[in-house]
Symmetry: C4
Subunit: 212 residues, 4 copies
């Protein structure tokens, strides 16, 4: 029988937990994690990952609601991680520089998946410069939209397949489910999230106008 | 003449009152209980019910604004409960597991009743999993919409009649009046409320797009 | 030369001033008094009126930003009242039971004036019961819309003329300018304001749908 | 090698810095500076300028995030100012009475640039009186919209050229980028910003209606 020790959590874990808790309060203040939707994680120096426990409200997280998993997604403290843990671990495996992954569940990401087909294209926005590697508004990024799937390994494999074929992206949407983005720190991931939500909002509102 | 004792309220009553007061602050922060609209209740272990007093602003409730009624809706402390008390007691009578009922009065619930006819159908949303008994987005729920009626016993009877015919539901809308949902605790009812308001918001916005 | 005494303000004045300051914070939190728009007043027992000083931000009022005028609108403390003071005093003169007048300047009131012609009709809403004298949703109220006019005595006369012809109303809109409502206390006026803004919001959103 | 002294900052600098920090919190509370967008500045009595450091979140500014530049835009403390510093200095050079410049990056300014061509016209609004030199709603102002350009000297020259040809304006929009406005103090610039954002919001919503 596996034993979990209360002493295995480091100061670094608690620091990252505090960052995720604060990120949750901010994201909830925008209305982007209704009910108990969404999940957040941050990678530690040893490769293990601090991640939100399944089923908690992300705007009212306590330290106890952040748990520790290994890079394969196994619980290291006996708590149950989010069902979508594999989507986090696969991002960390692919991108060595990524240290935080945020998955909100906003009205805008949900509408984007309904209004646009397989992807949403964002171009000619100054705010694209909030994303890594972009230094002019004369840029064009694609955020892919995947069909929702309760089979998370299968969904993770579909994301991997897309990334193998299309290279680096800044985030992706799962239809009816929400949005994933990431960054070199919790702060960087939050900046990407705030920028992309802003741009989804504008594209959705322009979509209505274009249909008139 | 009936006498009301100030000593009949238990610690459990005050705990539930605090939960309803906090729920009111949260619901008001979303704009879902304008003016003095809405009412909230929670069932105690002995079957009596803590419920908001008529006519108070639900975002600024004090302990004194929560009163005690028996399972039939009679005041146990001389205060006057909401006119819609019977809608609460009939939910508690039908569902033994329900311990809290929330009735907000949002723009989205009001618009939903105007835009959709007798019901709104919600399907293919991950957030449906916030509702009890649903574990996949490949689900379909119906939220019925009833005509408003100042005759609350008649309105309660209509709701009962619908439930007899259609079985369990997660909430219902009264046209021009607002929304009712419930749960095994105040927190559960709040989660259902937050999820359903989110989904009403999306359906209303898609309704506009579909008409273009 | 007129002299103003700092001692002429009563405890009642300061109590009303606090109520207007708190009302301003609430109204500003909704976005209904942008820049330095809007003005608020409350009548004292002696018939004089506490009213906001011209040109202050209504979400950040200090006690010093509330001044005293007589029932005709003359300054009693040397400060300069809002340019629209006559619209307040004429409401107080007509309705002896009115003790507070609120004039916000919301997007919804401004849009209402552009989308609807001379009036907006509100009917079949439960929230109408937040207004005095209404006890069923099966009610119909009319909120008149007046053209804006920098000549405030002329504008006040037009309002008076309408009221002489049409009897009691619960509020009115000045096109491109905002909304006036009132009540038997600051709290009552706030309840009317919150209810009417909610209903304007719904009617504006339905107006778009009806045009599709 | 240039040397920067920590002692060169005056009490006036710190006062202005506090005003810009508070302005940032207010502007962010409205959602007008997502991610690290936007920049703000205030002129000191000696002509030097306190301005936000490049790349900081404008809703969470610390004193350390405000730096000092000379009237030509050169750093006086070794920190790196916003890439758009020249747009600030050219406004200060042209308008001796202007003591603060604010550049938010709102959804409404971004949408305005997409929906209207080279300018947005605002007329017949009471709220225009929040702008300097306007004392009646029977006024008409034009807010020009410039194409975005990563070459800031070239963009600044285009703004200068427009102003030479068209005279005084109250603000301008850079497409896909945001909005600039200014005033005789940070408070005045905030009032202009709040008024213009309100009017953009209304014009955008009316634009949709007119297309139906």
């Amino acid at each position: 029988m596996r034993k979990f020790s209360m002493t295995l959590k480091s100061d670094e874990f608690y620091l990252k937990a505090e960052q995720l808790i604060a990120a949750g309060r901010f994201i909830d203040s925008k209305g982007w994690v209704p009910a108990t939707s969404g999940n957040f994680s941050a990678r530690l120096a040893d490769g293990n990952i601090a991640i939100t426990v399944s089923g908690r409200h992300k705007g009212r997280l306590q330290t106890d609601d952040i748990m520790l998993i290994d890079p394969q997604g196994h619980s290291l403290d006996g708590k149950k991680p989010s069902a979508e843990t594999l989507l986090h671990t696969s991002i960390y495996r692919r991108y060595p520089d990524v240290q935080a992954v945020l998955h909100p569940h906003s009205v805008n990401a949900t509408l984007t998946a309904r209004l646009f087909q397989n992807e949403i294209v964002l171009e000619d926005y100054e705010l694209l410069k909030a994303l890594p590697g972009i230094d002019t508004h004369e840029s064009r990024i694609v955020v892919p939209i995947f069909a929702n799937d309760q089979d998370i390994p299968r969904l993770a494999a579909e994301v991997e397949h897309y990334l193998d074929a299309h290279g680096d992206i800044h985030g992706y949407i799962i239809a009816g489910h929400g949005f994933y983005t990431w960054g070199a720190s919790v702060d960087d991931a939050l900046r990407h999230l705030e920028a992309l939500e802003f741009l989804f909002d504008i594209e959705i509102r322009l979509h209505g106008v274009k249909r008139l």
